[in-house]
Amino acid sequence: MNLDFSQIVPYIPFMLEGIWVTLKFVFFAILFGFFIGTILALFKIGSIRPLRWFADAYTSIFRGTPLILQLMLIYFAVPQLSGYDITPFLSAILAFGLNSSAYVSEIIRAGIQAVDKGQTEAALALGVPYRQMMTDIILPQAMKNILPALMNEFITLTKESALVSTIGYLDLMRRAQVVGADLYRNFEPLLFVGVLYWLMVMGLTLIGRFVERRLRVSD
């Protein structure tokens, strides 16, 4: 056993900065994924068949292939095809957002379909149009079913974000590797960023619990 955390002290600011770098793209990837996922979910429960097929095919492809492959395709293959030199930051948002939206769409679809059919009938019987029924009656109730699973997806995304270290994006994970290479000691920096990831996920969990409690007022 030779553990010496004092050696990583000079590198701590460098590694802490990684929190911000990671959160920055995770935040945009979650937003992007949630937005696309909601649209896909509406396609799936809607009555327009080609849109339903599209959403199902999309989900099948993005859930059926490794995320790291999707990330590499976007980062390495897009420049080859289009000549556009895509940044690691943008590739990461695209890959994680597109991938996450496949999962999010399933979560939202299931959440909407779990709302009692009587709610739809009651709204229809009152003459409420489809769009308003969705936004005012169905989605707010679906949120309660959706939120725990959605939080899970966001946590997974936050942790999986470490994959971007493979395309040279200087996130938390990559910084630990850099420090490890510098010091010829890997255990301390890896353990250190491990704790940082855990703290980030705890933060997300607490936010999720808070929102869930807010949604429960009507029970």
């Binding site: 009692d116 709610q119 009938e121 009651a122 019987a125 009152l126 003459g127 005012d136 707010p140 109730q141």
Partner: protein, 240 residues
């Protein structure tokens, strides 16, 4: 007010309603009774097109509901519906349940809708529950709120789909009392029910359905005292 001509409804190959024709006049209270599976709920749900008829025509105020050009949402505004399982909006307070559709669909202002809502809550005896959420109410209270919610749209016709079947026995009366008041105020009502007392006492007419066929259509006194058909007689024997 409502005219039904040769209404037929099939689910796949299963014919649940066969060739039903009848009429409900303005101000009339009609009870629809029959054994379970006789199609009485489906019949009621066809009247506001929650079920789409396979064949036949339904006219409401001379407007053909089955015509694709008819704006069904507009027609539904004039038809209130009360369900067996209430279907109140659980995420909205009682008051918001009552004001939601008038504000969103009829574009009423909030004060107008709320004033009307408080009036209706008083009528159904639940003024003190305006700020409660549906899940804190008893079954009978929920159903009275559901009736008030339908009335808030000021419908010309009210449909009741077994409104007391999901209630504990001691709560049936409070709901029936509200319905009686409504009937006496001149509302046109179609009521699917197992409450023979209500049908006898309040209804102007009774429709008896069996296996999707309209077997009897007549006034309650002669229906209950001297049913014309064997099937109705057997049914009444079983339940009375």
């Amino acid at each position: 007010m409502i005219k039904v001509e040769n209404l037929t409804k099939k689910f796949g190959n299963n014919e649940v309603l066969s060739n039903i024709s009848t009429e409900i006049k303005k101000g009339e209270v009609v009870s629809i009774i029959g054994p379970s599976g006789s199609g009485k709920s489906t019949f009621l749900r066809c009247l506001n097109l929650l079920e789409e008829p396979t064949d036949g025509k339904i006219y409401i105020n001379d407007k053909d509901l089955t015509d694709p050009k008819t704006n069904i949402m507009q027609v539904r505004e004039q038809i209130g519906m009360v369900f067996q399982h209430f279907h109140l909006f659980p995420h909205l307070s009682v008051l918001d349940n009552l004001t939601y559709a008038p504000m969103k669909v009829k574009k009423q202002s909030k004060p107008t809708a709320q004033e009307k809502a408080y009036d209706l809550l008083e009528k159904v005896g639940l003024s003190d529950k305006a700020d409660a959420y549906p899940n804190s109410l008893s079954g009978g209270q929920k159903q009275r709120v559901a009736i008030a919610r339908a009335l808030a749209m000021e419908p010309e016709l009210m449909l009741f789909d077994e409104p007391t079947s999901a209630l504990d026995p001691e709560m049936v009366k409070e709901v029936l009392d509200v319905m009686k008041d409504l009937a006496h105020s001149g509302m046109t009502m179609a009521v699917v029910t197992h409450e023979m007392g209500f049908a006898k006492e309040v209804a102007d007419r009774v429709l008896f359905l069996d296996h999707g066929v309209l077997v009897e259509d007549g006034d309650p006194v002669s229906f209950f005292d001297a049913p014309k058909t064997e099937r109705a007689a057997t049914f009444l024997e079983k339940i009375l």
